[in-house]
């Protein structure tokens, strides 16, 4: 561990990673739609910082591109898209209906973080990359926490934010394990994420207009009787 070539950058990235994980936990625990959006924006900013730190360390220009795209799409374009597709009512501060209460959610979340480390460790034992030790397990933890968020949320927008948090987790891990990210990463970040937001946002608006609710978790007309 002490053989790290960039002790300062490594420490800063570790700090960023810790905050990144906290925002992921926050998205699980928060009770307000607007707060989950703000936490998501914060998480995206931390992803950007980590990409810049790793960019400086590895000298890979791709990482700066990822940082720029992340800032542009996730902190600016996505909030704008959501505001314009989803009706204002959805945004109004209020409690989110949820499947599980917050303490048990956090307990399960802790289990998921342990699981992320359990999966990441054998990988890192086989192949070591400079920043993988931080970014791979923490990215995977955020990845699981985002997926968990989708299952405990009933509201449409928080489910979407959970989905985007999963994507953030993948990128947080991705920038460390493949610093020369192939075209996939840039394309996914630049095209895929905004399209997901647009499609899901428009769908939310239609569900709201048609059904008068955005509690998609409560939709259960379709099932085997």
């Amino acid at each position: 561990m002490n053989s790290q070539p960039f002790p300062l950058l490594f420490a800063l990235d570790a700090l960023t990673g810790a905050l990144f994980l906290l925002t992921a936990l926050g998205v699980v625990a928060t009770r307000q739609v607007l707060a989950s959006l703000q936490l998501f924006i914060l998480q995206s900013l931390l992803l950007t910082i980590s990409a810049v730190l790793l960019g400086i360390a590895t000298g890979s220009q791709h990482l700066f591109a990822v940082a720029a795209i992340t800032i542009a799409t996730k902190t600016l374009l996505i909030p704008w898209l959501l505001r314009h597709t989803v009706s204002a009512e959805v945004y109004r501060t209020r409690e989110i209906e949820r499947v599980l209460n917050i303490p048990s959610s956090l307990l399960l979340a802790a289990g998921l973080i342990v699981l992320a480390y359990a999966i990441a460790n054998p990988i890192l034992a086989a192949v070591d990359v400079p920043f993988g030790r931080i970014n791979l397990p923490l990215g995977m933890a955020a990845f699981f926490l985002g997926a968990f968020t989708i299952t405990v949320r009933r509201e449409a927008v928080p489910q979407l934010l959970g989905l985007l948090a999963v994507e953030n987790g993948v990128f947080f891990a991705g920038i460390a394990i493949v610093p020369n990210l192939p075209v996939i990463a840039e394309l996914a970040a630049a095209v895929d994420v905004p399209v997901i937001t647009l499609v899901v946002g428009l769908l939310t608006r239609r569900i709201h207009a048609r059904l008068g609710t955005t509690a998609v978790g409560g939709l259960a007309a379709l099932r085997e009787h």
Partner: protein
């Protein structure tokens, strides 16, 4: 050049459909574009069958045997579903429909474009993007009817399959990492096969599982299948034909080439996973087929069953089983799209999807009744139709390699599924009791049913030699 043209035509047709002109010519423009795509795809398939690989636009586009087969199937169902849409969508869109119609065809063409792109993009990363776009571009097609049920189905479809795709994305990033560690740069299937023996298994293994589970969600493997019967029953019939007939197969195209990659890695064996997921899916789907109440959902569960069978076939391995898998993909695409066309004209004729509400359909709408029965035979695997032949090949391959438990279970599932499907379909078509008078079926829908019945009836008995060569080449690409 053909490959580039195949991607260009749907873009043009989509632009025409969305333009003000689309109001008048969206349906015919889409139909002409799809016919041209089909003609080009047949040409590509003929070349790829001998055995070759086609490259285009530098090395951005490429097509091997398995890719050409998937391309051909997408082009075929894209063509028949376009013809079916012509009458069906006009009827369903109703009087306020000019705008809806343009949007439908605009998205229809783009959805086809994304499916055509998957088997011919050389870069695996771009292929992931294309798979992800198939979901996003078809979301509003699934929700087209605008009923609460359709919107619910669209929501589940988008959220679950996108989540799956992000799982797969992590898998592909790890896979890329592995090929970099092994010292290979180009991220293509060919490159991955070359890199596989040198990749650290610690990377290859989690990558494989993430991709299998992630894209397995989109294929509809149990237990990630929950969205599939909803989306495949609520979308308009021509879209169901595409979703069930070829979208699932398109995603399989991204999972199956992993098989030879894993096989080359030291100490790893993907077969138990393929067989395990496949048998679970086929078994659960068979159970659900018995108790199903909605005939579009019945066809959807049959898709889950077929995907399970194809996965088992890939897991069994060997030339026979892999040929059976390629054959089953073909038979499934043809028969399942036909089933949804039959379901579509039934819905148009009598306005319900409930199995119990349809009795003695043969008296109200003979064409719908005969189409349902023929479709039922097609997907259930009655001899001498294609699915029978492919399932026979798969079982034979399994017996020859001594995998008796797998073969036994698969045979039981196939037989039960056959009985369940035929029981439902026979009651609907010939059962006692009255179904209300039927509405007329639009001519384009009738024409589609007649046209789509031809390959369904022929391909089990007679496989033209270029197609046989193509199937063999596809089986080779799976590592058989």
């Amino acid at each position: 050049m053909e490959l580039a043209a195949i991607l260009l035509l749907p873009v043009l047709a989509s632009a025409i459909s969305l333009s003000p002109l689309g109001r008048y010519i969206a349906a015919p423009a889409t139909f002409v574009a799809m016919a041209a795509v089909l003609a080009l795809a047949i040409g590509v398939a003929a070349t790829a069958a001998q055995p070759g690989r086609i490259d285009s636009l530098g090395d951005w586009l490429t097509c091997d045997g398995l890719g050409a087969l998937v391309l051909l199937l997408v082009a075929f169902v894209g063509f028949t579903a376009a013809l079916f849409s012509w009458g069906y969508i006009r009827r369903r869109a109703g009087s306020a429909g000019a705008r809806k119609l343009r949007h439908y065809y605009g998205l229809y063409n783009l959805f086809i474009l994304s499916m055509l792109a998957v088997p011919i993009l050389a870069n695996v990363a771009l292929m992931w993007v294309a798979v992800e776009l198939t979901t996003l571009l078809s979301a509003f097609l699934v929700g087209f009817e605008d009923t609460p049920e359709a919107l619910e189905a669209a929501w589940k479809y988008v959220v679950l399959t996108t989540l799956g795709a992000v799982f797969a994305l992590l898998g592909f990033l790890i896979l890329y990492w592995g090929s970099r560690v092994a010292g290979y740069e180009p991220f293509t299937w060919v490159g991955l096969v070359e890199a596989a023996p040198k990749m650290p298994p610690a990377l290859l293994w989690p990558a494989f599982l993430l991709i299998l589970v992630g894209f397995g969600t989109k294929v509809g493997l149990v237990p990630m299948h929950t969205w599939l019967p909803d989306a495949h029953s609520q979308a308009p019939a021509p879209i169901c034909a595409l979703l069930s007939g070829v979208e699932t197969t398109t995603v399989l195209y991204v999972i199956l080439p992993l098989f030879p990659v894993i096989r080359l890695a030291p100490g790893l064996d993907a077969r138990p996973w393929f067989v395990g997921f496949g048998l679970t899916s086929a078994g659960i789907a068979t159970l659900l087929l018995i108790f199903v109440r909605d005939f579009k959902r019945m066809f959807a569960y049959s898709t889950v069953e077929h995907m399970g069978i194809i996965l088992v076939a890939a897991g069994i391995g060997g030339a026979d089983a892999h040929l059976g898998a390629a054959y089953q993909m073909t038979g499934h695409a043809i028969a399942k799209s036909f089933c949804f066309f039959a379901a579509g004209i039934t819905v148009l004729a009598i306005g319900t999807q409930e199995i119990a509400a349809v009795r003695g359909l043969v008296r109200a709408s003979p064409i719908a009744a005969f189409a349902l029965v023929l479709g039922g035979f097609g997907i259930a695997g009655a001899p001498p139709l294609a699915v029978f032949v492919s399932e026979f090949l798969i079982l034979k391959g399994g017996l020859a390699s001594g995998q008796y438990v797998t073969v036994g279970l698969l045979a039981v599932f196939v037989v039960i599924a056959f009985c369940a499907v035929m029981l439902h379909v026979n009651r609907m078509a010939f059962g006692a009791g009255g179904t209300a008078a039927a509405l007329a079926v639009p001519p384009s829908c009738k024409a589609t049913v007649v046209l789509a019945a031809i390959p369904l009836l022929v391909i089990g008995v007679y496989v033209p030699s270029p197609l046989h060569a193509l199937l063999t080449a596809a089986a080779k690409a799976m590592g058989g």
